[in-house]
């Protein structure tokens, strides 16, 4: 059985859910909210099915070339976490899982409008980055029992940070009084960049033919617009991007009215931000840093080499450690800590994707 149908269904469902969550923010109709949650759950069930099918398939794939491998070992080696495509899929899955958990725990749907775009961003990125969807053989470096646990816990941590980012973003706009406040300017630029990338990838996606998309390792990321080989097109795109961010700054405060119209208070958003970090920080420390270091030691003979991936995950750790100390010990409240949460997630994205796309390092296998 092929998993791709279920993946496509879930991707469609999440993008539909994103649109409906945003509509829900505007029209504040309970039924629209239920529809958004329902479609998200539907997408999640479908994606879970797809993940299981893919795991079973790659289990058989592993066994076919390693007949001596034991049952448990084969299950571990079959974990669908071997390349960028599979890791992005798993990131989206973790994000939605954590989001649904928060939504049911806090009985509040509005946060979905901030979290589902992250899922959409990741899903579009899969298509435009041209990462292969084939089940690939597991390279020797990844043949370790740590792979599953390291990636699983790191990504659950990332997902928690993603939700804290969504809540912190909503928080900042809710407590902003004037457009000239620095936190708001920072907010509109950061979220504006996310939006620009989302739109640019959407354009990439529409302009690439299906045939091209199937090509192996063909990177289309932002090639249609911002990274277009023609300087004229690229120039116009950059100007459009700046205008878009400016418009976002100009009209972004409209969100405040929308959010306060819901049963959303800054206190709840602050609580969600903190709670998500309180869950994400231990997961990321244990799964990302500690397990990563132990694995590195057993594969390369050194638990820490200051390679870019390691360093960026440490930077991420510093930012969230800062958040926790600033909030708990120094008693920082409000916008200042919310900004730290946004900065933390930018560091997460850089650790996860930026290092592979922009910098080189020992972890370069993730870019395939």
């Amino acid at each position: 059985m092929n998993s791709s149908v279920f993946f496509d269904i879930s991707a469609g469902a999440y993008i539909a859910a994103m649109i409906i969550y945003i509509i829900y923010l505007v029209v504040r109709n309970r039924n629209v909210g239920i529809a958004a949650s329902g479609i998200t759950i539907f997408g999640f069930v479908s994606q879970t099915t797809a993940l299981i099918i893919r795991w079973v398939n790659s289990y058989h794939f592993w066994v076919s070339s390693n007949p001596d491998s034991g049952f448990v070992e084969s299950i571990l080696r079959g974990a669908p976490l071997r390349n960028l495509y599979e890791s992005l899929i798993f990131f989206v899955w973790s994000l939605i899982l954590f989001h649904l958990f928060v939504e049911f725990k806090y009985k509040n749907r509005s946060i979905g409008a901030f979290v589902t775009p992250l899922a959409a961003l990741a899903l579009l990125f899969i298509d435009v980055s041209g990462s292969t969807k084939e089940i690939q053989p597991l390279i020797p470096a990844l043949q370790s029992n740590w792979l599953l646990f390291h990636v699983l816990l790191s990504f659950l941590g990332y997902a928690a940070f993603g939700v804290s980012f969504g809540a912190a973003a909503a928080y900042i706009v809710m407590v902003t009084e004037s457009r000239k406040e620095l936190p708001y300017i920072f907010w509109s630029i950061t979220i504006g960049i996310f939006l620009v990338v989302l739109v640019a990838m959407g354009i990439d996606f529409l302009s690439i033919s299906t045939a091209q998309r199937a090509e192996f390792i063909q990177n289309h990321f932002l090639k249609t617009t911002l990274r277009n080989p023609s300087p004229a097109v690229a120039g116009v795109s950059w100007i459009a991007a700046v205008i878009l961010i400016f418009l976002f700054w100009k009209f972004g405060l409209g969100l405040r009215k929308v959010l306060s119209g819901m049963n959303m208070t800054p206190a709840i958003l602050d609580e969600i931000t903190y709670k998500s970090i309180a869950v994400g920080f231990p997961l990321f420390t244990i799964g990302g840093l500690i397990m990563g270091a132990i694995w590195a030691n057993s594969a390369w003979g050194k638990y820490w080499t200051w390679d870019p991936k390691e360093t960026w995950s440490l930077i991420t750790w510093f930012v969230y450690a800062l958040y926790l100390h600033a909030r708990f010990v120094s008693g920082w409240r409000g916008k200042r800590v919310a900004i730290l949460s946004v900065v933390g997630f930018v560091a997460v994205i850089f650790t996860y994707l930026g290092v592979n796309l922009v910098l080189s390092g020992l972890h370069a296998y993730g870019s395939g």
Partner: protein
């Protein structure tokens, strides 16, 4: 004199306060985070030309060498080992230690101070509280609440008075210490890292098949004595079927003691190293030696006969036992393929991706012919007449690239990791919860006021209080119905 001493203690105190401050912690965290970025952009410990080329993209070709020199002076080219980065790490750990010493006694007092019963008015000022009344006897209400507390694993203490029972209990008080445990684990990691750099080493060793070495290398000019001999029996790359994706890189290593006696033998793979006397050998790379002449290792099985292994040099001949067939090593290709366009055989890589040997078979009275036998495709060795020749290895031309490291601090890093994991779990998921329940009889009814406080996870605690109240209520009302 006295004045002077006072000044001294004042100075000491203000330095202490500075080193213990959260402001310093926040500043150091920001500095470490920001400065760490530099080392991820500038390639560390790389050849100057690479970074000059990188800098040229930002500063132009003419300015790049100057910028490079400035950056090099600032230690950016080996940043994480630079004096200033090390200093920040030292400040970070001093800050951690001093602030922990500064705060620990206060926390310890909170943990150790016995919980006391509170008055009704004190409970009324608690952040979480509940008021309930029941038509029941004082002792029944008391029993019900003790039982409800017990069901959530709270052991109730009791202060009985005239017409009033004061229950009080707490859980997870030691969780307040978890944050110090996390701090301690970070210090232990630093200590482990210092032990590792001070008493350990990290080197490499390229060992050709069949050769042995008593040293590894920190750099080409810096050999380190191992104290024993390591020998590589063979190196091999395994591939996934139908492609050139490597499945495994393997070397068979043998450890020989000073008398030349074999004391250990293991096939190492990526993620599965060999450790002897604290020194670990990791499979890290491999390669071909350009000038080496190796042995062709062939397994020959005549039709109906048993397999025989032969080791041959280039140009050597062999017989297939029991037949008049003679084979001669004619040619070798490390990576043989058939060109798609021309249909001719060619070599597509200088690495041993698809090794093949060409053998000239001759038999009296018949024309000689040349056949290619491929290592990865044994079916290429089936000869007419049911004989089989398989190409087991071209031995002695590859070397295995070993990462050699000794780190006597690593056990401390592992221990610290476990401590940190436990500490973080307790720190974030276990909270110090205190509950006070005052039950007083008021004519025919009983008045209960509950209060609680927690250092985190307030929502969960609120739910716990609700559960205690509802369970006690159920028990009391259930009994009164009987």
């Amino acid at each position: 004199m006295e004045e002077n001493e006072k000044e001294k203690t004042d100075l000491f105190e203000s330095i202490w306060k500075f080193l213990a401050s959260v402001k310093l912690a926040i500043a150091v965290l920001i500095i470490l985070a920001l400065s760490s970025i530099i080392g991820t952009i500038v390639e560390q410990k790389a050849e100057p030309a690479r970074n000059i080329a990188l800098l040229a993209k930002f500063f132009g070709d003419t300015a790049a060498p100057t910028v490079y020199n400035i950056f090099a002076k600032l230690g950016f080219m080996d940043m994480y080992g630079s004096w200033w980065f090390t200093t920040f790490l030292a400040v970070f750990s001093i800050n951690l230690i001093v602030c922990s010493i500064d705060r620990l006694p206060k926390t310890w007092r909170v943990v150790k101070s016995p919980q006391k019963p509170l008055s009704d008015s004190a409970i009324k000022s608690m952040p979480l509280r509940k008021e309930l009344t029941f038509k029941t006897a004082l002792s029944e209400a008391r029993d019900a609440f003790i039982k409800a507390l017990g069901s959530l694993r709270y052991t109730a203490q009791e202060a009985p008075e005239q017409d009033t029972v004061r229950l009080y209990t707490q859980k997870g008080k030691y969780a307040r210490l978890a944050v110090y445990v996390v701090h301690l684990s970070i210090i232990l990691i630093f200590i482990g890292a210092i032990i590792g750099t001070r008493f350990g080493f990290r080197g490499y060793l390229n060992l050709p098949e069949g050769r042995a070495s008593t040293v590894a290398f920190k750099s080409p000019t810096e050999p380190i004595e191992l104290g024993f001999t390591v020998k590589c029996n063979w190196y091999n790359t395994l591939y996934y079927e139908g492609g050139d994706t490597p499945r495994e890189f393997q070397s068979e290593l043998v450890i020989l003691d000073s008398n030349g006696k074999e004391v250990m033998k293991k096939v190492i793979e990526v993620n599965d190293p060999l450790t002897y006397q604290g020194i670990t050998f990791f499979q890290s790379s491999y390669g071909m030696m350009s000038e080496a002449q190796g042995y062709f290792v062939l397994d020959i099985t005549p039709s109906g006969g048993s397999e025989k292994r032969v080791w041959l040099r280039y140009g050597d001949s062999f017989d297939i036992p029991g037949t008049a067939i003679r084979g001669k090593i004619h040619d070798f290709s490390p990576a043989l393929t058939r060109d798609r366009k021309t249909g001719r055989l060619t070599t597509y890589s200088d690495k041993m991706v698809n090794p093949a040997v060409a053998i000239e078979f001759s038999q009296q009275g018949k024309d000689p012919y040349i056949g290619w036998i491929l290592n990865r495709y044994p079916e290429t060795g089936f000869l007419p007449g049911g004989h089989k020749v398989s190409f087991a290895d071209y031995w002695g031309v590859e070397y295995t690239g070993l990462q050699v490291s000794k780190d006597p601090g690593v056990w401390l890093i592992y221990l610290a990791s476990i401590i940190m994991a436990v500490g973080l779990y307790v720190c974030f998921f276990i909270s110090h919860r205190k509950i006070w329940i005052n039950i007083s009889s008021d004519r025919k009814s009983v008045r209960v006021s509950m209060g609680g406080s927690t250092n985190r996870n307030r929502i969960n605690f609120e739910r716990e209080l609700d559960r205690i109240a509802s369970e006690a209520t159920k028990a009391i009302e259930g009994r009164s119905k009987k």
